[in-house]
Symmetry: C2
Subunit: 222 residues, 2 copies
C-alpha cells in the first residue's frame, strides 16, 4: 500500500486496529459524488472506476484505479463533499479509515501525509499529460488511455493486462466524446491491427505499435 511506505511498523499496527474492512460487489457505487466524505478508502483487492460530473452536468470517467490504491482523499482533506464517484469494476476488498483516526495517525507519522501528497502530485502530472493529449485530438487521448490502463493492469499483476474492460459507452464517458467518434476511431485502430474490439472489451494486439502512434500523431498535428 503506497500510502504506508516508510511508515514505522508500530504505526502500521495502530492503523490495522483503526480501519474497518469492507467488501463491494461488481457495479456497486462505493463513493458517491456530492455525499459527505468522512473516510479514506484503502483498496486492497480489485479495481474501480472513478467518474465526475461537472457543475453543468457533464460526466467524464476520470480514470480506473487498481489495488493497492487510496481513494476518497479529496473530501477528507478539504472537509467537503466527495469530488467524484467510485464504482467497483469487479469484487473489491477495502478498508475504511475515518478522518479522526487518519488525523491521529498522521500526527504520529507525518510520512502518511507526505505519501498522500506525493500520490496527488503524481496524479496532477498524469492529468496534465492527459490535458495535453485531449487538446491535440480525441485519437491521441484514446491511445494514451489504452496504454495507461495497460500499464496499470501490468503493475497490478492482472492475468491479461492487454484486455481492457472498456465498452463503447465506457469510452464515450472516458473521452467526453460522441459514440460516432468513438466507433470511428476504434474501427481505424482495428483496421491497423493495433487493437481488437469485442463487446465491453478492447484488446491491445500491438502495444508497441500504439506507443509509436503516440509520436506519429504528434508529428501529424504539428
Amino acid at each position: 500500500m503506497p500510502l504506508f511506505e516508510g511508515v514505522p511498523e508500530r504505526l502500521l499496527l495502530l492503523a490495522a486496529e483503526a480501519v474497518r474492512p469492507q467488501q463491494y460487489a461488481a457495479g456497486q457505487v462505493i463513493l458517491q459524488q456530492g455525499a459527505p466524505g468522512e473516510a479514506l478508502l484503502l483498496m486492497g483487492l480489485g479495481a474501480v472506476r472513478v467518474s465526475r460530473v461537472d457543475a453543468a452536468g457533464r460526466e467524464r470517467v476520470m480514470n480506473d484505479a487498481y489495488a493497492p490504491a487510496v481513494l476518497g482523499e479529496t473530501a477528507l482533506l478539504t472537509g467537503g463533499e466527495r469530488s467524484a464517484s467510485v464504482t467497483a469494476l469487479g469484487e473489491v476488498g477495502a478498508w475504511l479509515l475515518y478522518r479522526d483516526d487518519f488525523v491521529r495517525l498522521s500526527n504520529l507519522a507525518p510520512r502518511l501525509l507526505w505519501n498522500l501528497a506525493r500520490l496527488l502530485a503524481e496524479r496532477v502530472t498524469a492529468q496534465s499529460d492527459e490535458l495535453i493529449a485531449v487538446g491535440v485530438s480525441t485519437e491521441l487521448n484514446m491511445v494514451q488511455v489504452f496504454l495507461g490502463l495497460y500499464r496499470q493492469r501490468q503493475v497490478a499483476g492482472e492475468a491479461h493486462p492487454e484486455r481492457l474492460p472498456l465498452g463503447r459507452s465506457d469510452l464515450t464517458l472516458r473521452l467526453s466524446s460522441s459514440r460516432e467518434t468513438v466507433v470511428r476511431l476504434l474501427r481505424r485502430l482495428e483496421q491497423a491491427r493495433l487493437i481488437s474490439v469485442r463487446s465491453g472489451e478492447v484488446t491491445l494486439c500491438d502495444p508497441v505499435g500504439l506507443e509509436a502512434l503516440l509520436y506519429d500523431i504528434a508529428a501529424e498535428e504539428h
Copy 2:
C-alpha cells in the same frame, strides 16, 4: 499563504528563518522542467505561468498562479525532476524553502503537509473539470479558462481582473489548439460582445454572459 494555514506561530518563526528571499523579473524562468527540484517556491507577490512539455514534445500551458501560492511541490515530494516550467508574468517576490528544511518543519507541524495535500487535491478537481471541458470542445475550454483566470485575478485583488494577460500565442499553448481555431473562437466571442481582444490581452466585457455560455454549450453538445 494557504500552506501555513493553522500552523502554530512558533513554527512560522522557524519557517521565516529557513526561507531565502528571491526576486524575479518579468519573463524570467523561475523553475525549469527537467531540472532537479530541491526547493519549494513560496510566491508572495506577483503571478507566474506554469507550462509542461510531454514525452512526445508537445507543450501546453497548464495554468497561471497568483500570489499567495506554493509551487515546485511535485519534484520535492517525488524526489524527481521539475514536472513543469514556471515563468514570471511580471515582477515576482518569493521565498525558497529547501527540502531538508521542509522535512524538518513538516515533522514539527504535519499540518503543513495536510495543507499541501489539500492544495493538490483541489488542483486535481480543477484539472478534472478542465478535462471534461476539453473533451467537449475547445470553445468550452476557452470560456472556462477565461472565467477561471478572471476569478483567480479577483481573489488576488488585481486592479483589473477582467483584463487577462493572454495573447493569441498564449492561447494556442493554453488550449493545445491551432492558431486558426483560437482566432476563429476569439472572433466569435468578440462578435457576441462577450470579450474584446487586443494585442497580448483578452478583456472580459460580460463575465455573466460567458458563464451562461458554459451551460449553453453543454446543452448544444448533448
